[in-house]
């Protein structure tokens, strides 16, 4: 009797302590994720013997470092120009996002604001050499914009039906524009329209964030439960005019490349 009474008073404390320990462990594993990712990046660099051989240590000299970056960016553009489909060039130094086909820039947008990830900022020069010397393949993309706004219509049976159903041209449905591109090497680029003018835009933004960060949160929980290492996705967020964002997203094929310059 006495034992059960004692247990009754201790039980909530024990449960609370267990919950606390689990929460702390989860938060610690999540906060360690950037270090794990960095370690993974460093390992991939130093296991690439060809890369190490081609990397001239003189690039690290303060007088050369900027020139080296410029050269890698241009090498990347040159490689991109060999493809005859549409690709994207993100230049955060010039604050521009461009579309390019066969080496010709066909669309250029000035961006007012962007947020760079700390991990990308802290890349060593050899890491930059490894990851940014070549165009990066877009491995997956998600957006609130429809890529091809297809409207299905059945053929009319006769001229009378055709005249009754005469299609009235209308501007295409202009959804709020938010897009996310996952690149190889696990770098994510998020594009957001730079103005939120109404509740529809606000709702679309919330839904977009819920999808992106909700998926990420679920993944961290699943990794924690399965005792796996937490994943960290270095992300660049770019804010740009809504019309340009629509044009860029619709222009890019599902399999396309991105040249990225951020330093």
């Amino acid at each position: 009797m006495k034992y059960s009474k004692e247990m009754k008073t201790k039980l909530p404390k024990i449960i609370l302590s267990i919950i606390g320990i689990i929460t702390i462990s989860y938060l610690i594993t999540v906060s360690l994720a950037p270090a794990n990712k960095n370690k993974q990046y460093v390992e991939s660099v130093y296991s690439d013997t060809v890369l190490i051989k081609n990397f001239d240590t003189a690039y690290c000299h303060s007088e050369i470092i900027e020139m080296a970056r410029e050269m890698w960016y241009k090498e990347s553009l040159l490689e991109l120009s060999k493809h005859d489909s549409i690709h994207m060039v993100i230049d955060l130094i010039d604050s521009t996002v461009s579309l390019s086909i066969s080496g010709v820039f066909i669309h250029k947008t000035k961006i007012e604001k962007f947020e760079k990830d700390k991990l990308l900022n802290n890349f060593s020069l050899i890491q930059e050499f490894k990851f940014l010397l070549h165009p990066l393949l877009i491995t997956s993309q998600y957006a609130t914009i429809v890529k091809e706004p297809i409207v299905e219509r059945d053929a009319p049976k006769d001229t009378l039906e055709a005249s009754l159903n005469a299609w009235k041209p209308d501007t295409l449905v202009q959804n709020p524009a938010f897009a996310s591109f996952m690149l190889e090497n696990d770098i994510r680029i998020i594009f957001e329209q730079d103005t939120i003018t109404n509740s529809v835009d606000e709702y679309a933004k919330q839904q977009f964030s819920k999808y992106i960060y909700g998926t990420q949160f679920k993944k961290t929980i699943s990794n924690f439960v399965k005792f796996k290492k937490q994943e960290y996705i270095p992300t660049i967020v770019i804010y740009m005019p809504v019309d340009d964002l629509r044009a860029v997203y619709r222009a890019l094929p599902y399999r396309s490349y991105v040249v990225l310059r951020y330093k």
Partner: protein, 243 residues
Amino acid sequence: MKKEYLRYIKELSGKIVSLFTDCSKMHLLTIVKFIYPIVIGLCLVFLIPYAMKIIVWKSIELKSEIAFDNEEAVNATKQKIESRIAAIDKKLNSKKPKAFYLVINSASNEFNLYKGDKLIKSDKCSTGSYVLLKNGDNQEWMFKTPKGVFQIRGKTTSPVWKKPDWAFVEEGLPVPSVNHNSRFEYGVLGDYALSLGDGYMIHGTLYQRFLGLPVTHGCIRLNDENLKLVYNSLQTGSKVFIY
């Protein structure tokens, strides 16, 4: 009256003070008992991961670039990089068309006519409607403007439109034979047409009020003035970029 009022205030404040002191005496221990673990718990939950985060980011932070003092090697590398950049620039510049070329934005239904780096004209146009026309289960046509790099394959004045099958299906008419008279329409494509291959063209329109809207069957429509300019500027082989 004033004295009574003052006495009343004094009594009331005395009661409040005594209530608080009694309360604190009685419940101080209980409050501490409750608050203490909560404060400690919150500290553990937020401070430990926060401290970890700071430590982790500190450990990742970029170490200063390695010192490299070999001046000869630095100069050699500098020269090597400069010549490589010049070579790449040359290659990239050679990819840009020097003559006239056209860029079509099918999302905003606008075109830009360039000569080299110079923008000559920018205005509205019309591109594919993205309508998928279905004729039963057997036939379907997608009215979209293709994207990519194209070349002008041919130029014609006073073009005649040879209506394809879908033009009849869309109007609810029976499809005639391949060279039937009803297939040929005069004057609907404007004064000029420039072929991009596969049946896609840049041409004029009778429906100029629809310019700027996605209404075509895949071709690119311009107004009369712009069509004339584009026709006179682009030659066979000129590039057209559509995105």
